[in-house]
Symmetry: C2
Subunit: 370 residues, 2 copies
């Protein structure tokens, strides 16, 4: 194994609940804390393990909500508690990553940071590491580097990155400029992108010098930047709580794609490294089924603590966290998610609609099951 | 309303678990104790209420297992406890109905009895009563009378009765001889039967003088008859328990169709009255869905104590006895049965296969969920 990268911090934003994975994912039990793949570890823990060879234990930071802090610390027993940054409430990815950038830049001027979602699944560790090392090399040249995933199908569920001119950077042989970002396409457009190998999936991974990302934020969202800097100045002092309580609620909620990445791309400051590893954001139960079934949907695939499932000519994904016996008879392409207080039955075609059901439950004030 | 019929006892065999309705029906909670139709009463209670105008409260007998006795008595608060005949263990319908016939013939020589399953659903009460009164009139003439249901579709799930020559019996204008019984047909044969109006469904309702049914049993199954007579002789005496414990376990298990009805038909002693009321044996969840949906399967039909079901473009039957929220998203023709310790997911085409699942659980020794 190669050594950790000098002066490089990984930042794991662990915030999203993953409401398309309801009723498994909950406000109290978000997606990243679940062992969704049956690997014996949570998605967060797998993200930690994946980053460890690049950083060592003392250079991984986690940004998470106060409500999830204790569970995150339990899930990552080796984490340096100074590197767990608790958000007062969720304020989108610019605030989360910006907070980490500002604190880490104060502590370690010139540091390079990379943000990696807590709830994605990646296979082919060596390729992942090779790609991140290239992104860090590009970051050291002053670029904000993103990792674009080589598409494996004409997906309509992701945004795309159009690769532009090649960049000549030592230790980053595959780096190129980002020509532009593209929103989620329709199927015809997605097929064009898939045929044209210069379009990559935007997986939301950004690697940059902390000061570079903060400068970009300052240029595009000056109030947000100022608020984050004020919090970072106070973070490692006795006045942290007072400043956070006062400033955090005023911060604008905006995705880092809009506040940093797209403006940087327009200025020619965004580099992309194609990621030729297997990547999945486990966006809904249909993609989870594909993931754990290695693309095949045959028989009954079971996930969760309860494996007591009888299969009589069924094709189904059964995720159960109860202690019930479950009989699946003759159903085709059915997804069942069985928890103590909520049951979901849907199909892979309709798995995206789970989000609307969660909204509907929210509108009805059914918070106890959300 | 007309008066109860003189010297007529209704016998309700309440024995079958109804394993095609698992996991709702259980050894401890058989089909007949469930309010399957959402009417606010169990199938047993509805059977009782249906027979009451023909008998009065003191002339309905129930034959049930010892395990279910207390629940039956709770469900039928007006039942005469002398008329609840507890079986030591289940020994099929000849033993159950034969026991009732033997006890009632001892108590009331010459009595007419009619057996009516505890777990069928009948609509059109006046037509039902009219039909039973005709069957009793035929029984008084020495016939064993059955009620054959006018088919509403070419069903393959029932046996058929071929109607023969008309019988001339006062007060039984629709009576005819049974030419023969036919086992469950294939679909092509069922279609022939359906087109030929002389074929009726065998609903297992038999009305006869008790002594006539016992004589038929004596001719065909002399040992079974002798055992039942020995038990009946002892029933209303202090030696009941001793005799039951000794004799009941020796009784042959045989359906009354084979021990009584078919042999009687061959001898020209079986009459049939066509029943032109709506009848359903609620054989599985598919027929339950048809029944409660009045034949239409649209949207989500809910049954059971839990009605907390969210429907997003689903077509489903949801039977729930838990307190969970259930989300049905985009599924078509799906049956979900949700109980505290077991969950069934199937389709109406596969609802008959539930019985095999129950067998499979039995073979695995999973009695706690059966």
């Amino acid at each position: 194994m190669s050594e950790p990268i000098d002066d490089f911090y990984a930042v794991i934003p662990a915030g999203g609940i993953g409401s398309r994975l309801w009723p498994l994912s909950r406000a109290e039990s978000p997606k990243f804390l679940h062992d969704l793949t049956g690997a014996g570890a949570s998605l967060l823990r797998m993200t930690w393990d994946r980053l460890l060879p690049l950083t060592g234990t003392d250079r991984i930071a986690v940004v998470t909500g106060r409500a999830h802090g204790p569970k995150v610390e339990e899930d990552l027993p080796d984490v340096d508690l100074n590197n767990v940054f608790m958000e007062m409430d969720p304020r989108d990815s610019s605030a989360a990553i910006g907070l980490a950038a500002a604190i880490l830049e104060r502590r370690h001027p010139g540091v390079v940071i990379g943000s990696f979602a807590a709830d994605h699944v990646i296979k082919r560790q060596r390729v992942f590491e090779f790609t991140v090392r290239q992104a860090v090399a590009a970051a050291r040249e002053g670029y904000i580097a993103t990792i674009g995933i080589q598409p494996s199908e004409p997906a309509v569920g992701f945004g795309y990155i159009k690769t532009g001119d090649e960049l000549i950077i030592d230790d980053a042989p595959m780096a190129a400029l980002v020509e532009r970002f593209v929103e989620k396409p329709d199927l015809a457009t997605a097929r064009e992108y898939f045929a044209d190998r210069s379009y990559l999936w935007n997986a939301g991974m950004f690697i940059s010098r902390a000061d570079v990302i903060l400068d970009e934020l300052k240029a595009n969202e000056p109030e947000l930047h100022a608020g984050l800097m004020e919090i970072a100045d106070a973070w490692d002092t006795a006045s942290r709580d007072e400043v956070v309580e006062r400033v955090w609620p005023t911060l604008k909620k905006i995705a880092i794609d809009y506040a940093v990445a797209e403006p940087a791309a327009e200025k020619g400051r965004l580099a992309v490294i194609p990621g030729q590893f297997d990547w999945d954001d486990v966006g809904d139960f249909a993609s989870l089924w594909t993931l754990v079934g290695d693309g095949r949907r045959e028989g009954v695939t079971t996930l969760g603590s309860n494996q007591d499932v009888l299969d009589d000519n069924a094709t189904a994904l059964v995720v159960s966290e109860t202690d019930r016996v479950i009989a699946m008879i003759g159903v085709e392409n059915i997804i069942v998610v069985d928890t103590p207080d909520a049951l979901l039955v849907t199909t892979s075609e309709h798995a995206q609609r789970v989000k609307q059901t969660v909204s509907s439950l929210q509108n009805k004030g059914r918070d106890s099951v959300l």
